[in-house]
C-alpha cells in the first residue's frame, strides 16, 4: 500500500518541509520532475493521430487525465475549453484518457465523447498507464501543470475552476 492511503497527509508535509515551494491541492502525489512519456494522440477535433511526448521540455505543459465514464471530467470540459482558448497557444495543452481502450471502450468511443463534449485540442491515450503511474494519479480528472523544465508545479484531482486552471498555468508563463 502506498503512502497515499494513510500516510498521505504526513508524506506531503514531509516532502513540502524539505523541498521547494510546490503547492499541492490534493494528497499523495508525485513530486518534482518526471521522465517524459510518449502518449498516443488520437484523430479527433483539434487533435491529430500520432505521438506526443509529455511533458515537453522547454515549454510549459498542461495535462488533464480523464475518462469517458467520468461525469466530473465531463462537467470540466467547458472549463478546460475556456482555459484552452485563453492560453492554449502558449503551452503544450492536452487531455489524456487513462481508461483501458479496445475492449469495452474503443478509441472511436473516446473520439466521439471528445466531439460531444466540445474538445478542440490534443487528446491522447495513456494506454500503458505510464503517465498515470509517473504522476501517481489516483483518480480522474487529474490536472497537472509542468514548468519549462518538466518540473511539476501544480496538480489537482477532482473538480476545479477555470480561474484556478488559468492562473496556475499563467504563473509559469
Amino acid at each position: 500500500m502506498r503512502r497515499r492511503d494513510v500516510l498521505a497527509g504526513l508524506g506531503s508535509l514531509a516532502v513540502l518541509g524539505g523541498g521547494a515551494a510546490v503547492a499541492f491541492d490534493a494528497v499523495g502525489q508525485s513530486q518534482g520532475d518526471i521522465e517524459p512519456v510518449d502518449v498516443e494522440t488520437l484523430d479527433a477535433p483539434g487533435s491529430d493521430a500520432g505521438t506526443a511526448t509529455v511533458p515537453e521540455r522547454g515549454r510549459v505543459t498542461f495535462v488533464e487525465l480523464f475518462a469517458t465514464w467520468c461525469t466530473v471530467c465531463q462537467s470540466m470540459m467547458p472549463r478546460v475549453a475556456e482555459v484552452h482558448d485563453a492560453v492554449g497557444d502558449e503551452v503544450q495543452f492536452l487531455s489524456v484518457t487513462n481508461e483501458p481502450l479496445g475492449n469495452t471502450v474503443t478509441r472511436e468511443d473516446v473520439v466521439e465523447w471528445w466531439a460531444d463534449h466540445g474538445g478542440e485540442w490534443t487528446v491522447a491515450a495513456d494506454t500503458n498507464l505510464e503517465l498515470t503511474q509517473r504522476l501517481d494519479a489516483s483518480g480522474v480528472p487529474y490536472a497537472v501543470v509542468f514548468d519549462e523544465d518538466n518540473h511539476i508545479v501544480w496538480q489537482h484531482r477532482g473538480r476545479t475552476t477555470t480561474e484556478t486552471l488559468e492562473t496556475k498555468i499563467r504563473e509559469q508563463l
Binding site: M1, R2, R3, R4, D5, V6, L7, A8, G9, L10, D25, A26, V27, G28, A67, T68, W69, C70, T71, V72, S75, N98, E99, P100, G102, N103, T104, V105, L129, T132, Q133, D136, A137, S138, G139, V140, H156, R157, G158, R159, T160, T161, T164
Partner: protein, 252 residues
C-alpha cells in the same frame, strides 16, 4: 473508527493521527523479519505501512486476514452468491459502492474495471472475480447496476464480474458495515467534501440527489480467501491495482 460513519477525508486524517501514535509506540520495527504467521497465507509483500497499521484497530479486514463470508444476491446472475464464492477457485476483488456517487465510488469501480481489462488482455480473466457490492439497494436495482456497469466499461461477457445487491437497506448495513466494516450513512450532500470534488465545493451534477458518506475500501483477496491488499482512503491508481493483481497471479 467504528463508532459511526465518517467521510473519507476525515477517516484518512483520523487514521493518519493514529499512525503517528502507532509509530511513536512501535518505533521502527522490522516486520518483514518478525515471522508473523499471517505471512504464510498471502503472497504479496506487506503493504508499506503495514508495521504501523498493525497497531490500528481497523474495522475492515486487512492484509493477511480472512475475507468474511456472507450471502448476497447477484441480481444480474439470478443467484445468491457468497463473498467467499470463489475461494478455492479464483482471486477476488471486492468493493462497496453506490451507483449515483460521483466522487470516490467511480474510482473504486474503475480500479476493478482496470484490473478486469488487464485480466482479459493478459489472459488471467479466469483466475479473477470482481464483486462490487452496492449499499444503496433502493436505488441500485438490477437494471441500474447493469447500466452503471456498461457506463463504466465493465466487460460482462468476460464472466468474472458480479454486482452484488443486498435486498434492502437493513441487509445492506448487516452485510457491508457489520460484516465488512465499511460504514456508510445516507446524508445531506453538503457533507460531500470527500474525494473527487476537491475543495471547490462543487456539487454532483446528478439529476437524482442521493448521497452517502462511506468508508472507501477495495479488497484484493487471494484464492485461499486471505486479504492480500486492503486499499482504504483514495482508490489505488489503476497501475497500482493492476500491478498488485498481476503480482498475486504470478506468485500464486
Amino acid at each position: 473508527m467504528t463508532e459511526k460513519p465518517q467521510p473519507n477525508r476525515r477517516t484518512v486524517l483520523r487514521a493518519t493521527g493514529a499512525t503517528v501514535l502507532g509509530t511513536a509506540l512501535a518505533g521502527c520495527t522490522d516486520v518483514l523479519g518478525s515471522g508473523d504467521e499471517d505471512d504464510d497465507d498471502v503472497v504479496l509483500d506487506p503493504p508499506k505501512n503495514y508495521e504501523r497499521r498493525t497497531d490500528l484497530d481497523l474495522p475492515y479486514p486487512t492484509y493477511g486476514e480472512q475475507v468474511p463470508s456472507v450471502s448476497v444476491p447477484a441480481p444480474l446472475h439470478d443467484q445468491v452468491m457468497d463473498t467467499t464464492e470463489f475461494v478455492g477457485d479464483r482471486h477476488t476483488m471486492l468493493t462497496f459502492i453506490y451507483t449515483s456517487c460521483t466522487t470516490v465510488c467511480p474510482g473504486l469501480t474503475n480500479a476493478l474495471r482496470h484490473v478486469q481489462a488487464d485480466s482479459i488482455s493478459e489472459e488471467y480473466a479466469e483466475e479473477m472475480a470482481f464483486m462490487p457490492t452496492t449499499f444503496d439497494p433502493e436505488y441500485d436495482t438490477a437494471d441500474v447496476l447493469r447500466s452503471y456497469g456498461e457506463d463504466m466499461g465493465v466487460d460482462f461477457t468476460a464472466g468474472n464480474w458480479y454486482f452484488l445487491r443486498p435486498e434492502n437497506p437493513e441487509d445492506a448495513h448487516e452485510i457491508v458495515t457489520d460484516t465488512f466494516g465499511v460504514a456508510f450513512e445516507q446524508g445531506d450532500s453538503s457533507d460531500d467534501m470527500g474525494d473527487g470534488n476537491g475543495s471547490s465545493g462543487g456539487m454532483d451534477d446528478m439529476d437524482h440527489a442521493r448521497h452517502f458518506t462511506h468508508l472507501s475500501l477495495i479488497l484484493l483477496v487471494n484464492e485461499d480467501g486471505f486479504v492480500e491488499r486492503a486499499y482504504n482512503g483514495q482508490p489505488p491508481s489503476p497501475d497500482t491495482a493492476i500491478e498488485d493483481a498481476r503480482t498475486l497471479v504470478e506468485r500464486w
